[in-house]
Symmetry: C2
Subunit: 237 residues, 2 copies
Protein backbone atom coordinates (compact mmCIF):
# COMPACT_ATOMS: atom_id res chain seq x y z
CA UNK A 1 0.00 0.00 0.00
CA UNK A 2 1.09 3.50 -0.70
CA UNK A 3 2.17 5.35 2.40
CA UNK A 4 0.30 8.41 1.26
CA UNK A 5 -2.88 6.58 2.07
CA UNK A 6 -2.08 6.60 5.73
CA UNK A 7 -1.14 10.20 6.18
CA UNK A 8 -4.58 11.76 6.22
CA UNK A 9 -5.74 9.58 9.08
CA UNK A 10 -5.57 11.01 12.56
CA UNK A 11 -4.55 7.66 13.96
CA UNK A 12 -1.22 8.14 12.24
CA UNK A 13 -0.95 11.90 12.35
CA UNK A 14 1.77 11.99 14.96
CA UNK A 15 4.02 9.53 13.17
CA UNK A 16 6.90 10.46 10.88
CA UNK A 17 6.66 9.89 7.15
CA UNK A 18 9.19 7.13 7.49
CA UNK A 19 7.19 5.36 10.17
CA UNK A 20 4.03 5.63 8.16
CA UNK A 21 5.82 4.14 5.24
CA UNK A 22 6.98 1.23 7.33
CA UNK A 23 3.45 0.60 8.48
CA UNK A 24 1.93 1.04 5.07
CA UNK A 25 4.26 -1.30 3.24
CA UNK A 26 3.54 -4.06 5.72
CA UNK A 27 -0.18 -3.99 5.00
CA UNK A 28 -2.27 -5.78 2.43
CA UNK A 29 -5.37 -4.30 0.84
CA UNK A 30 -8.75 -5.90 1.18
CA UNK A 31 -12.16 -5.00 -0.14
CA UNK A 32 -15.32 -6.08 1.63
CA UNK A 33 -18.68 -5.88 -0.11
CA UNK A 34 -21.71 -4.36 1.59
CA UNK A 35 -23.22 -6.78 4.07
CA UNK A 36 -20.12 -8.97 4.18
CA UNK A 37 -17.98 -9.44 7.28
CA UNK A 38 -14.35 -8.36 7.57
CA UNK A 39 -14.25 -10.95 10.31
CA UNK A 40 -16.84 -12.88 12.29
CA UNK A 41 -17.52 -13.74 15.89
CA UNK A 42 -15.45 -16.75 16.84
CA UNK A 43 -12.84 -16.33 14.11
CA UNK A 44 -9.26 -16.65 15.24
CA UNK A 45 -7.76 -13.23 15.83
CA UNK A 46 -5.10 -13.26 13.15
CA UNK A 47 -5.21 -9.77 11.72
CA UNK A 48 -5.51 -6.11 12.51
CA UNK A 49 -7.50 -3.78 10.31
CA UNK A 50 -7.73 -0.19 9.23
CA UNK A 51 -10.74 1.13 7.39
CA UNK A 52 -9.67 3.23 4.43
CA UNK A 53 -13.15 3.93 3.14
CA UNK A 54 -16.69 2.80 3.81
CA UNK A 55 -18.38 2.01 7.10
CA UNK A 56 -18.65 -1.10 9.24
CA UNK A 57 -20.64 -2.11 12.29
CA UNK A 58 -19.32 -4.21 15.13
CA UNK A 59 -22.00 -6.65 16.16
CA UNK A 60 -22.28 -9.33 18.73
CA UNK A 61 -24.83 -12.08 19.09
CA UNK A 62 -26.07 -12.78 22.60
CA UNK A 63 -26.67 -16.33 23.75
CA UNK A 64 -30.36 -15.70 23.25
CA UNK A 65 -29.72 -14.96 19.59
CA UNK A 66 -30.38 -11.28 19.95
CA UNK A 67 -28.01 -9.00 18.11
CA UNK A 68 -26.29 -6.00 19.66
CA UNK A 69 -24.35 -3.30 17.85
CA UNK A 70 -21.26 -2.47 19.87
CA UNK A 71 -20.12 0.33 17.62
CA UNK A 72 -19.25 1.55 14.17
CA UNK A 73 -16.01 1.95 12.27
CA UNK A 74 -15.55 5.08 10.21
CA UNK A 75 -13.00 5.62 7.45
CA UNK A 76 -9.58 6.13 8.96
CA UNK A 77 -10.24 4.10 12.07
CA UNK A 78 -8.25 1.01 12.97
CA UNK A 79 -10.35 -1.87 14.28
CA UNK A 80 -10.13 -5.50 15.25
CA UNK A 81 -7.25 -4.54 17.49
CA UNK A 82 -8.30 -6.76 20.36
CA UNK A 83 -5.27 -8.87 19.89
CA UNK A 84 -3.77 -8.99 23.32
CA UNK A 85 -6.52 -10.76 25.17
CA UNK A 86 -8.74 -12.73 22.92
CA UNK A 87 -7.71 -15.55 20.67
CA UNK A 88 -11.10 -15.51 19.03
CA UNK A 89 -13.09 -12.52 17.90
CA UNK A 90 -15.73 -11.55 20.44
CA UNK A 91 -17.70 -9.72 17.75
CA UNK A 92 -18.18 -9.53 13.99
CA UNK A 93 -17.32 -6.57 11.79
CA UNK A 94 -19.87 -6.19 9.02
CA UNK A 95 -19.48 -3.76 6.15
CA UNK A 96 -22.46 -1.44 5.78
CA UNK A 97 -21.21 -0.36 2.37
CA UNK A 98 -18.38 -1.62 0.23
CA UNK A 99 -15.30 -0.84 2.30
CA UNK A 100 -11.61 -0.72 1.52
CA UNK A 101 -9.43 -2.01 4.29
CA UNK A 102 -5.76 -2.34 5.08
CA UNK A 103 -4.87 -5.56 6.84
CA UNK A 104 -1.85 -6.58 8.90
CA UNK A 105 -1.04 -10.07 10.13
CA UNK A 106 -1.09 -9.82 13.87
CA UNK A 107 2.55 -10.87 14.30
CA UNK A 108 3.67 -8.10 11.99
CA UNK A 109 1.46 -5.62 13.78
CA UNK A 110 3.06 -6.53 17.08
CA UNK A 111 6.49 -5.98 15.58
CA UNK A 112 5.39 -2.62 14.29
CA UNK A 113 4.14 -1.67 17.74
CA UNK A 114 7.48 -2.63 19.20
CA UNK A 115 9.45 -0.66 16.66
CA UNK A 116 7.21 2.38 16.61
CA UNK A 117 6.20 3.54 20.09
CA UNK A 118 4.02 6.23 18.59
CA UNK A 119 1.86 3.57 17.04
CA UNK A 120 1.11 2.04 20.40
CA UNK A 121 0.20 5.47 21.71
CA UNK A 122 -2.22 5.91 18.83
CA UNK A 123 -3.81 2.57 19.53
CA UNK A 124 -4.07 3.63 23.13
CA UNK A 125 -5.86 6.74 22.13
CA UNK A 126 -8.37 4.81 20.10
CA UNK A 127 -9.05 2.22 22.76
CA UNK A 128 -9.60 4.97 25.27
CA UNK A 129 -12.10 6.67 23.03
CA UNK A 130 -13.97 3.44 22.40
CA UNK A 131 -14.07 2.76 26.10
CA UNK A 132 -15.44 6.20 26.94
CA UNK A 133 -18.03 5.99 24.18
CA UNK A 134 -19.24 2.63 25.41
CA UNK A 135 -19.35 3.86 29.00
CA UNK A 136 -21.59 6.63 27.80
CA UNK A 137 -23.94 4.22 26.08
CA UNK A 138 -23.84 1.90 29.07
CA UNK A 139 -25.06 4.63 31.38
CA UNK A 140 -27.81 5.49 28.93
CA UNK A 141 -28.93 1.88 28.75
CA UNK A 142 -29.05 1.74 32.52
CA UNK A 143 -30.91 5.00 33.11
CA UNK A 144 -32.95 6.13 30.13
CA UNK A 145 -36.21 4.92 28.62
CA UNK A 146 -36.33 3.51 25.12
CA UNK A 147 -37.45 6.62 23.19
CA UNK A 148 -34.65 8.70 24.69
CA UNK A 149 -32.10 6.02 23.91
CA UNK A 150 -33.26 5.93 20.32
CA UNK A 151 -33.04 9.71 20.04
CA UNK A 152 -29.49 9.67 21.38
CA UNK A 153 -28.51 6.83 19.08
CA UNK A 154 -29.75 8.75 16.05
CA UNK A 155 -27.96 11.89 17.19
CA UNK A 156 -24.79 9.88 17.52
CA UNK A 157 -25.30 8.52 14.02
CA UNK A 158 -25.63 12.08 12.79
CA UNK A 159 -22.31 13.25 14.03
CA UNK A 160 -20.67 10.04 12.92
CA UNK A 161 -22.05 9.90 9.41
CA UNK A 162 -24.46 12.78 8.88
CA UNK A 163 -24.50 14.48 5.50
CA UNK A 164 -26.27 17.79 5.22
CA UNK A 165 -28.97 17.77 2.52
CA UNK A 166 -31.65 20.10 1.27
CA UNK A 167 -34.27 19.01 3.78
CA UNK A 168 -32.22 17.67 6.65
CA UNK A 169 -29.29 15.51 7.60
CA UNK A 170 -28.95 12.08 6.07
CA UNK A 171 -27.15 9.15 7.64
CA UNK A 172 -24.58 8.16 5.05
CA UNK A 173 -25.02 4.42 5.43
CA UNK A 174 -28.03 2.11 5.52
CA UNK A 175 -29.73 1.85 8.91
CA UNK A 176 -32.64 -0.52 9.34
CA UNK A 177 -35.16 -0.45 12.16
CA UNK A 178 -33.51 -3.60 13.29
CA UNK A 179 -30.18 -1.76 13.51
CA UNK A 180 -31.76 0.97 15.58
CA UNK A 181 -33.10 -1.69 17.91
CA UNK A 182 -29.75 -3.47 18.14
CA UNK A 183 -28.15 -0.15 18.92
CA UNK A 184 -30.48 0.76 21.76
CA UNK A 185 -31.30 -2.57 23.33
CA UNK A 186 -34.92 -2.72 22.32
CA UNK A 187 -37.05 -4.59 19.81
CA UNK A 188 -37.61 -3.99 16.14
CA UNK A 189 -41.23 -3.25 16.94
CA UNK A 190 -40.63 -0.63 19.58
CA UNK A 191 -38.01 1.08 17.44
CA UNK A 192 -40.46 1.19 14.56
CA UNK A 193 -43.28 2.61 16.67
CA UNK A 194 -41.04 5.36 17.99
CA UNK A 195 -39.68 6.34 14.59
CA UNK A 196 -43.13 6.28 13.02
CA UNK A 197 -44.29 8.73 15.64
CA UNK A 198 -41.41 11.08 15.00
CA UNK A 199 -42.00 10.74 11.28
CA UNK A 200 -45.57 11.89 11.74
CA UNK A 201 -44.30 14.85 13.77
CA UNK A 202 -41.93 15.73 10.94
CA UNK A 203 -38.81 15.23 12.99
CA UNK A 204 -37.45 12.51 10.75
CA UNK A 205 -38.17 10.97 7.38
CA UNK A 206 -36.89 8.09 5.30
CA UNK A 207 -37.93 4.63 4.34
CA UNK A 208 -36.39 1.24 3.99
CA UNK A 209 -32.99 1.26 5.61
CA UNK A 210 -32.53 5.00 5.32
CA UNK A 211 -32.71 7.73 7.89
CA UNK A 212 -33.12 11.42 7.25
CA UNK A 213 -33.34 13.78 10.21
CA UNK A 214 -35.29 16.88 9.30
CA UNK A 215 -35.28 18.62 12.65
CA UNK A 216 -32.14 18.04 14.65
CA UNK A 217 -33.02 20.48 17.46
CA UNK A 218 -36.30 18.69 17.99
CA UNK A 219 -34.45 15.42 18.25
CA UNK A 220 -32.09 16.91 20.80
CA UNK A 221 -35.08 18.06 22.78
CA UNK A 222 -36.60 14.59 22.63
CA UNK A 223 -33.34 13.14 23.88
CA UNK A 224 -32.64 15.50 26.73
CA UNK A 225 -35.74 17.32 27.87
CA UNK A 226 -37.22 15.33 30.75
CA UNK A 227 -40.66 16.67 29.86
CA UNK A 228 -40.45 15.84 26.18
CA UNK A 229 -42.29 13.11 24.33
CA UNK A 230 -45.36 11.20 25.27
CA UNK A 231 -44.35 7.69 24.43
CA UNK A 232 -45.86 6.15 21.34
CA UNK A 233 -47.82 3.51 23.16
CA UNK A 234 -50.98 5.58 23.37
CA UNK A 235 -52.71 6.45 26.62
CA UNK A 236 -54.45 3.61 28.29
CA UNK A 237 -57.78 4.58 29.74
Amino acid sequence: MNMAMLSPFPAFATLSAQERKLIATASSPKIVAAGQPAFSEGDPTNHCFLSLSGHLKLVRTASSGEIVILGFVDPGEPFGLGVTHEIRRPASAIALRESKLAVWPIAIWRELQNEIPGLTLSVNHILEKRLFDLQERFVEMACLDVPRRVALAVLRLIDRAGRREADGVRIAFPVSRHDVAALTGTTLHSASRILVRWKRQGVIAGGRRTLLVRDVPALIRLATDPEADVSPWGQRR
Copy 2:
Protein backbone atom coordinates in the same frame (compact mmCIF):
# COMPACT_ATOMS: atom_id res chain seq x y z
CA MET B 1 8.07 4.53 46.43
CA ASN B 2 10.10 1.40 46.57
CA MET B 3 10.41 -0.28 43.21
CA ALA B 4 9.80 -3.64 44.82
CA MET B 5 6.20 -2.60 45.25
CA LEU B 6 5.65 -2.60 41.53
CA SER B 7 7.16 -5.94 40.67
CA PRO B 8 4.36 -8.22 41.77
CA PHE B 9 1.81 -6.48 39.59
CA PRO B 10 1.07 -8.00 36.21
CA ALA B 11 0.75 -4.57 34.67
CA PHE B 12 4.48 -4.21 35.09
CA ALA B 13 5.55 -7.81 34.75
CA THR B 14 7.13 -7.39 31.34
CA LEU B 15 9.23 -4.41 32.31
CA SER B 16 12.87 -4.57 33.38
CA ALA B 17 13.85 -3.91 36.98
CA GLN B 18 15.38 -0.66 35.87
CA GLU B 19 12.22 0.50 34.15
CA ARG B 20 10.12 -0.39 37.15
CA LYS B 21 12.45 1.61 39.31
CA LEU B 22 12.11 4.61 37.03
CA ILE B 23 8.35 4.36 37.24
CA ALA B 24 8.26 3.73 40.96
CA THR B 25 10.49 6.62 41.93
CA ALA B 26 8.35 9.04 39.98
CA SER B 27 5.24 8.15 41.97
CA SER B 28 3.85 9.54 45.19
CA PRO B 29 1.93 7.45 47.70
CA LYS B 30 -1.63 8.24 48.65
CA ILE B 31 -4.06 6.65 51.06
CA VAL B 32 -7.80 6.90 50.56
CA ALA B 33 -10.18 6.04 53.37
CA ALA B 34 -13.18 3.79 52.80
CA GLY B 35 -15.98 5.70 51.11
CA GLN B 36 -13.71 8.53 49.99
CA PRO B 37 -12.97 9.34 46.36
CA ALA B 38 -9.53 9.09 44.76
CA PHE B 39 -10.99 11.51 42.26
CA SER B 40 -14.47 12.72 41.43
CA GLU B 41 -16.56 13.26 38.35
CA GLY B 42 -15.69 16.60 36.84
CA ASP B 43 -12.28 16.90 38.46
CA PRO B 44 -9.49 17.98 36.15
CA THR B 45 -7.57 14.96 34.92
CA ASN B 46 -4.20 15.71 36.48
CA HIS B 47 -3.02 12.36 37.71
CA CYS B 48 -2.74 8.68 36.93
CA PHE B 49 -3.24 6.06 39.60
CA LEU B 50 -2.24 2.57 40.54
CA SER B 51 -4.04 0.67 43.26
CA LEU B 52 -1.54 -1.01 45.56
CA SER B 53 -4.09 -2.42 47.98
CA GLY B 54 -7.79 -2.11 48.65
CA HIS B 55 -10.67 -1.88 46.21
CA LEU B 56 -12.37 0.98 44.43
CA LYS B 57 -15.49 1.38 42.34
CA LEU B 58 -15.77 3.60 39.29
CA VAL B 59 -19.12 5.31 39.38
CA ARG B 60 -20.90 7.75 37.20
CA THR B 61 -23.96 9.84 37.88
CA ALA B 62 -26.48 10.09 35.06
CA SER B 63 -28.25 13.35 34.33
CA SER B 64 -31.27 11.92 36.10
CA GLY B 65 -29.22 11.50 39.26
CA GLU B 66 -29.12 7.74 39.02
CA ILE B 67 -25.79 6.14 39.79
CA VAL B 68 -24.10 3.56 37.61
CA ILE B 69 -21.09 1.44 38.50
CA LEU B 70 -18.81 1.27 35.48
CA GLY B 71 -16.34 -1.11 37.07
CA PHE B 72 -14.06 -1.96 39.94
CA VAL B 73 -10.36 -1.52 40.54
CA ASP B 74 -8.49 -4.38 42.17
CA PRO B 75 -5.10 -4.20 43.83
CA GLY B 76 -2.40 -3.99 41.19
CA GLU B 77 -4.55 -2.30 38.60
CA PRO B 78 -3.77 1.11 37.18
CA PHE B 79 -6.79 3.39 36.83
CA GLY B 80 -7.75 6.93 36.00
CA LEU B 81 -5.72 6.55 32.84
CA GLY B 82 -8.18 8.33 30.63
CA VAL B 83 -5.78 11.11 30.08
CA THR B 84 -5.65 11.40 26.34
CA HIS B 85 -9.21 12.41 25.67
CA GLU B 86 -10.85 13.94 28.62
CA ILE B 87 -9.75 17.01 30.46
CA ARG B 88 -12.25 16.28 33.20
CA ARG B 89 -12.98 12.97 34.83
CA PRO B 90 -16.05 11.32 33.36
CA ALA B 91 -16.47 9.21 36.51
CA SER B 92 -15.55 9.08 40.17
CA ALA B 93 -13.31 6.49 41.80
CA ILE B 94 -14.57 5.66 45.28
CA ALA B 95 -12.63 3.50 47.73
CA LEU B 96 -14.68 0.59 49.04
CA ARG B 97 -12.09 -0.02 51.74
CA GLU B 98 -9.06 1.93 52.77
CA SER B 99 -6.82 1.79 49.73
CA LYS B 100 -3.18 2.53 49.14
CA LEU B 101 -2.46 4.17 45.83
CA ALA B 102 0.51 5.27 43.81
CA VAL B 103 -0.02 8.55 41.99
CA TRP B 104 1.74 10.13 39.03
CA PRO B 105 1.25 13.65 37.73
CA ILE B 106 -0.04 13.24 34.24
CA ALA B 107 2.87 15.05 32.59
CA ILE B 108 5.31 12.71 34.26
CA TRP B 109 3.25 9.72 33.26
CA ARG B 110 3.33 10.83 29.64
CA GLU B 111 7.10 11.14 29.82
CA LEU B 112 7.31 7.67 31.27
CA GLN B 113 5.17 6.33 28.45
CA ASN B 114 7.47 7.95 25.93
CA GLU B 115 10.59 6.60 27.53
CA ILE B 116 9.27 3.12 28.25
CA PRO B 117 7.38 1.61 25.31
CA GLY B 118 6.55 -1.44 27.38
CA LEU B 119 4.53 0.74 29.72
CA THR B 120 2.33 1.93 26.89
CA LEU B 121 1.83 -1.67 25.86
CA SER B 122 0.73 -2.53 29.39
CA VAL B 123 -1.72 0.34 29.42
CA ASN B 124 -2.97 -0.89 26.10
CA HIS B 125 -3.55 -4.29 27.54
CA ILE B 126 -5.54 -2.90 30.41
CA LEU B 127 -7.69 -0.65 28.27
CA GLU B 128 -8.44 -3.55 26.01
CA LYS B 129 -9.55 -5.68 28.92
CA ARG B 130 -11.75 -2.93 30.31
CA LEU B 131 -13.31 -2.46 26.90
CA PHE B 132 -14.05 -6.16 26.46
CA ASP B 133 -15.49 -6.42 29.94
CA LEU B 134 -17.78 -3.49 29.37
CA GLN B 135 -18.87 -4.85 26.00
CA GLU B 136 -19.85 -8.01 27.80
CA ARG B 137 -21.93 -6.12 30.33
CA PHE B 138 -23.41 -3.96 27.62
CA VAL B 139 -24.71 -6.99 25.78
CA GLU B 140 -26.13 -8.36 29.01
CA MET B 141 -27.92 -5.09 29.72
CA ALA B 142 -29.38 -5.14 26.25
CA CYS B 143 -30.54 -8.75 26.23
CA LEU B 144 -31.08 -10.21 29.68
CA ASP B 145 -33.78 -9.73 32.29
CA VAL B 146 -32.99 -8.21 35.66
CA PRO B 147 -32.59 -11.40 37.74
CA ARG B 148 -30.11 -12.86 35.28
CA ARG B 149 -28.14 -9.62 35.20
CA VAL B 150 -27.96 -9.64 38.97
CA ALA B 151 -26.78 -13.25 39.00
CA LEU B 152 -24.05 -12.47 36.50
CA ALA B 153 -22.99 -9.39 38.41
CA VAL B 154 -22.62 -11.40 41.61
CA LEU B 155 -20.67 -14.10 39.78
CA ARG B 156 -18.37 -11.44 38.43
CA LEU B 157 -17.91 -10.08 41.94
CA ILE B 158 -16.98 -13.57 43.06
CA ASP B 159 -14.14 -14.02 40.68
CA ARG B 160 -12.97 -10.50 41.27
CA ALA B 161 -13.03 -10.51 45.04
CA GLY B 162 -14.38 -13.83 46.28
CA ARG B 163 -12.83 -15.33 49.40
CA ARG B 164 -13.60 -18.94 50.16
CA GLU B 165 -15.10 -19.41 53.63
CA ALA B 166 -16.55 -22.22 55.67
CA ASP B 167 -20.06 -21.88 54.28
CA GLY B 168 -19.51 -20.23 50.92
CA VAL B 169 -17.68 -17.50 49.08
CA ARG B 170 -17.60 -14.04 50.53
CA ILE B 171 -17.20 -10.83 48.52
CA ALA B 172 -14.19 -9.18 50.08
CA PHE B 173 -15.55 -5.66 50.04
CA PRO B 174 -18.85 -4.10 51.10
CA VAL B 175 -21.64 -4.38 48.54
CA SER B 176 -24.96 -2.73 49.27
CA ARG B 177 -28.23 -3.52 47.52
CA HIS B 178 -27.85 -0.12 46.02
CA ASP B 179 -24.51 -1.16 44.56
CA VAL B 180 -26.05 -4.26 43.06
CA ALA B 181 -28.70 -2.09 41.48
CA ALA B 182 -26.14 0.40 40.15
CA LEU B 183 -24.22 -2.51 38.70
CA THR B 184 -27.13 -4.04 36.84
CA GLY B 185 -29.19 -1.05 35.81
CA THR B 186 -32.16 -1.66 38.03
CA THR B 187 -33.63 -0.21 41.20
CA LEU B 188 -32.68 -0.77 44.79
CA HIS B 189 -36.08 -2.34 45.32
CA SER B 190 -35.88 -4.88 42.54
CA ALA B 191 -32.36 -5.85 43.53
CA SER B 192 -33.54 -6.39 47.10
CA ARG B 193 -36.50 -8.51 46.08
CA ILE B 194 -34.32 -10.74 43.94
CA LEU B 195 -31.67 -11.22 46.59
CA VAL B 196 -34.24 -11.88 49.28
CA ARG B 197 -35.67 -14.63 47.16
CA TRP B 198 -32.28 -16.25 46.66
CA LYS B 199 -31.58 -15.88 50.33
CA ARG B 200 -34.72 -17.84 51.14
CA GLN B 201 -33.62 -20.50 48.67
CA GLY B 202 -30.27 -20.72 50.44
CA VAL B 203 -28.27 -19.61 47.42
CA ILE B 204 -26.88 -16.55 49.14
CA ALA B 205 -26.69 -15.08 52.61
CA GLY B 206 -25.44 -11.91 54.22
CA GLY B 207 -26.87 -8.72 55.61
CA ARG B 208 -26.10 -5.07 55.54
CA ARG B 209 -23.54 -4.38 52.81
CA THR B 210 -22.20 -7.90 52.77
CA LEU B 211 -22.64 -10.72 50.33
CA LEU B 212 -21.96 -14.38 50.92
CA VAL B 213 -22.67 -16.85 48.15
CA ARG B 214 -23.41 -20.28 49.56
CA ASP B 215 -24.20 -22.13 46.36
CA VAL B 216 -22.20 -20.93 43.40
CA PRO B 217 -23.40 -23.64 40.99
CA ALA B 218 -26.99 -22.66 41.74
CA LEU B 219 -26.15 -19.06 40.96
CA ILE B 220 -24.56 -20.09 37.68
CA ARG B 221 -27.71 -21.97 36.85
CA LEU B 222 -29.82 -18.93 37.65
CA ALA B 223 -27.62 -16.84 35.40
CA THR B 224 -27.44 -19.09 32.39
CA ASP B 225 -30.26 -21.63 32.34
CA PRO B 226 -33.05 -20.15 30.23
CA GLU B 227 -35.55 -22.20 32.23
CA ALA B 228 -34.26 -21.21 35.64
CA ASP B 229 -35.88 -18.89 38.15
CA VAL B 230 -39.44 -17.81 38.42
CA SER B 231 -38.99 -14.13 39.00
CA PRO B 232 -39.61 -12.83 42.51
CA TRP B 233 -42.65 -10.86 41.55
CA GLY B 234 -44.93 -13.67 42.63
CA GLN B 235 -47.65 -15.04 40.40
CA ARG B 236 -50.48 -12.69 40.11
CA ARG B 237 -53.81 -14.37 40.31
